[in-house]
Amino acid sequence: MSSTMLPNRSKTSVLVFLLPPLLLYGIAVLFPIVQSLFLSFFSWDGITDLRFVGFDNYARMFVGDDVFWTAFSNSLGYLVICLVLQLGGALVVASLLISLRRGRELVKTLYLLPAVISTVAIAFLFQRIYSLEPTGLLNQLLQWVGLGELQQAWLSNVDTVLAAVSIPEGWRFTGLYMLIIYAALLAVPQELEEAARLDGANWWQVFTKIRFPYIRPVWITTTIIAATYALRGFDIPYLLTNGGPGQASELLTTYMYKTAFTHTDYGYASTISVFIVVECLIAVGLIILLLRRKADA
């Protein structure tokens, strides 16, 4: 299957081209995965000797650590909000954009703009948007539309903080996913849609019976990218609230980071990071399973 395009290439030339990239990939990605797996069975503070503890770290994580479970359910909430904003928003805007005659390029550029801005700057920005004293954009807006009693410090309220730290992440990348879905929608043959419309199909039927099945492969890829990115989300919660107040916006990633670099508990931190990887793999498996099965039905 993997036949060469160059009949007279040598074995050495393959190695010359393959080894440098494998070396970097090994050092930065593959070897750290193995190291984390190894460390997850040890207790280590970085100074004293490694102590083998078997499955103790895993037992502690699954049974003895409430913060872990809080962080896990927060991560799922963060994932859901990001997916709704990024994929839902992307699909809506891309579908609307398709029906526009002009200004498509401008909309694409403007919509992508937040993706260019660093998370630190975004954290500053949203700190001001959510601010109560002095009145930030959001609270001012609420007052204007007559919902003044809803005004609050969004980042200090345990009920709103998780949504408040998730929304900036959803906001900043929705343009990226919109572009991808827009490109996929452009490839849907117009004749098919026209034919369906002439047969009296409404827009919802056109969407579910023609457009969506057509873009399903791209939708699966996009969902996988968005989900794995949301599960590794870290910067904005870390910068905006550092997981607080209490553990109300603690994600697995911020919890792992603090365990490693504040409490220098490298063994347990590695256990959590192994869990984050497993969680991503499971998420990808589930997405493929769910979206494929619907295709068969």
Partner: protein, 304 residues
């Protein structure tokens, strides 16, 4: 671009005359309504999407008193560049920008060169386990970066790499490599076998073919990969925050963060001025090259 709508005569804005003749009156009117509604909604969404950025920029031009007392939606009463002067005086912005440039260029060099080499070995040279190696790289696309923080921190401290440019470049390039390998190899699939056969008959070896055929053909893919990765690398926070300690090596995200601490009481207008300064280089590149980038993103995504 949107201004055209206002200028164009109303009768031809939405549908072409040919379409009009074919369509019954009622359907046509419904379609027009549909389009108008769509443009209104899109405009609203774009405003929500872009407004915070406009506000950020306006705030950087406000006087401090205006910002402290004012309604956040109001236009500035007077424009001032004082904030920019204070931003430069307090922070270390120049150095931060240079550091970000070094890291972005260094990481991109690895991502492009090593990505092309791996894709060339897998797709063009071919070898027995090429599918396994390709799969190994593909897995990397979904591996979260957090897995590498603790191991790399430990490895770096044992080989004295902590607090260096390389400590940021290695993981930034390593985690971007899978996508780069994937994009290059899907592109190399489309280079016809005959191109290589002709060169082989002329006696060119694998190294010369890489330099004289594969590399020049890859330029478009290189532009896409560099643009997309630059956004992520320029803004990287997690690796820089974990591996860099000294002020001389701080990149823009760290510099910005430091900024606030250094001033104790947060000087928001100056901080937003600093944010505007650090966004500008990337924003200019993005606005100039966004056609190339959007094209690359769209084609890269739909091919797979």
């Amino acid at each position: 671009m949107t201004t055209h709508t206002a200028i164009a005569p109303p009768s031809t804005t939405m549908t072409t005359p040919v379409e009009r003749d074919r369509m019954p009156q009622r359907r046509r009117r419904r379609l027009d309504l549909h389009r108008t509604l769509a443009s209104v909604i899109v405009t609203l969404i774009v405003i929500v999407q872009v407004y915070p950025l406009a506000w950020l920029f306006l705030t950087s031009l406000r006087t401090e008193q205006d910002f402290a007392s004012g309604n956040p939606f109001a236009l500035p009463t007077e424009l001032t560049l004082d904030n920019y002067a204070r931003a430069f005086a307090t922070g270390n912005l120049g150095l931060n920008i240079v550091n970000s440039l070094v890291v972005t260029l260094g990481a991109n060099l690895f991502i492009v060169l090593l990505g092309m080499m791996a894709a060339y070995a897998i797709q063009v040279l071919g070898f027995r386990l090429s599918r396994v190696v390709r799969a190994l790289f593909l897995i990397g696309i979904i591996v979260p970066v957090q897995i590498a923080l603790v191991p790399l921190f430990i490895d770096y401290s044992s080989v004295n790499l902590l607090d260096t440019y390389l400590s940021m470049i290695i993981p930034l390039a390593g985690f971007a490599l899978p996508m780069s390998v994937y994009l290059f190899s899907s592109f190399y699939e489309y280079i016809p076998r005959e191109t290589y056969e002709a060169a082989s008959i002329d006696g060119a070896g694998p190294y010369r073919i890489f330099g004289q055929i594969t590399f020049p053909l890859s330029v478009n893919t290189i532009v896409t990969i560099v643009l997309v990765n630059s956004i992520f690398i320029w803004n990287d926070f997690i690796f820089a925050n974990t591996f860099v300690l000294s002020d001389e090596l701080k990149t823009i995200p760290l510099g910005l963060q430091n900024y606030i601490g250094a001033m104790g009481n947060v000087d928001w207008t100056a901080t937003f001025a600093a944010v505007c300064i650090t966004i500008t280089p990337l924003l200019l590149v993005f606005l100039v090259l966004n056609k190339a980038m959007i094209y690359g993103l769209e084609s890269g995504a739909t091919k797979g």
